[in-house]
Amino acid sequence: MGHIVYPYYLLFISAISIFADILLKYIRKRKEWFIYKMSGQTALFQLKNVSKVFHTKDSEVRAVDDISLDIFPSEIFGIIGMSGAGKSTLVRTLNRLENVTSGQVIFDGQILGDLSSKELRAQRRSMAMIFQSFNLLTQKTVLANVMLPMKIAHVPHKEQKERALEMLKVVGLENKATAWPAQLSGGQRQRVAIARALAMNPKVLLCDEATSALDPKITEEILSLLKDINKKMNLTIVIITHEMSVVEKICDRVAIISEGRLAEIGSVKEIFTSPKTEAAKHLILPAEKELNPFDITDRRCIRIVFDGREASEPLIANLVEATGEKVNILCANTKSVGGVGFGQMIVELPSEDDAVERVLQYIREKGVNFHEVQLEEVKSV
């Protein structure tokens, strides 16, 4: 019988390995989901079919339309969308500054819609929020501002002061305790707001366009402070923004909101390298005119998108060497997203048709993602 069993044995082994392979791929794809399930952790926020409808005189606006998503403890979760996409309304349903029209928001196992206003106030103390306009009290000193949430919660005065000074130290403003908000720069004011938000030791920090009023350099500083706090205090952070750069810099996962609906959700790396929906593509790949090509020609142009794999290889140099055809780089934009090189380039092709074909053939062989760009788009700079 031995000579019959042997091939079956082989078949069995390969079946198992194929099965294991599929399983592994699946696990890898839903890695985070498995990690959280395995570790027994549950989502900090669970949104179930959340909708918010605003009624105006003669129409209704679906600001949030049937959104379901989970936000896990200790992650930095981004919610991105164009202005008017409903993201600010969405974040306000997280601490019930907005009541949902239908669906449920579950925070830390509790359905927010079921809480009495007193219970809700108690919950809100563990959900801090910072804003685009900082919203500091102008008639109170920096220290008094940071003490305020503790004052409301009737923390003993001495403890309030100690904790407030400690939090000001975390945000690097311990020497500004006696200053008035009006004497501070925008970045410093947002730092005070962060200190104030951290004062009650919250479980989550909700950031509503927190860096939108700040210049790029200050934005960077605030973002690295948030990342730092996330690491050190294990604090969950939810960031609402319309700027992709904010998401790519610090978020672990991101949800793309378009016209009130959840267009796409996943790890930042996934979404950046292969945006599937139009809304995601629109946010991630800037329009041709935003790329600002410095030279405008009548020749054909293509846009090459790097998704990390090719970034290490000098594609253009190799192309020129292999085909002998010269291409002209009109503009390029690359960045590192979660440690992966990501970017795009607009390249002007040679004038002769057969040369163009050779170049495209080479790029196709390399398996690089590209598409032709309409010259009108480029011209409309």
Binding site: L97, Q123, R124, S133, Q139, K140, P149, I152
Partner: protein, 217 residues
Amino acid sequence: MSEAIWKMIRSGVLETLQMTVISTALAYLIGLPLGILLVVTEKGHILQNRIINTILGTIMNIVRSVPFLILLVVLVPFTRFVTGSSIGTTATIVPLTVGTIPIVARMVESSLKEVSPGIIEAAESMGASPASIIFRFILPEATPSLILGGAINLATVLGYSAMAGCIGGGGIGAIALNYGWYRYQTDVLLVTVVILILIVQIFQEVGTILAAKKRHS
């Protein structure tokens, strides 16, 4: 002008100040909470309540639209009921207070509305109760503006107190009327007017200085 008239003017000034300050203080005692109520019961605010807001707003407008001189006369029975008399300094305090309450309430309302809605949203996100939001957020933020409003109200009440002279109220207004107008003593009239101007100036200046000292934005 004789020594007697100067003496009378001196006590008149004191009476006027007494009427003005006491009436304004009493008007704030009632008008400030009403002003707060007008703001927080508004649509979309922390204690939204259309019924209270509409009733309160209407009463304020009715009282405010009655000319003060008419209000003085209309309130005579009420004044007599409260103070036992309808003439003199103490009696004048009653109509002055009643007439000033709606002015104070509206002034407070407009000061509180200057507070950025973002501050109230921040307060709510911290888990502040409506009382905390009013006393720890809205009122402190509105303090400089409330002080300026207070100075304006003092000047208004001062003007009203002079009117009270017509129906037997005391104070410098009565002196101006009785001596300056009925007896053609132009010098008395001039002196009282100058004194009234000075008092208003002082109220306004002190208010402005206090508000500026308090303001940090």
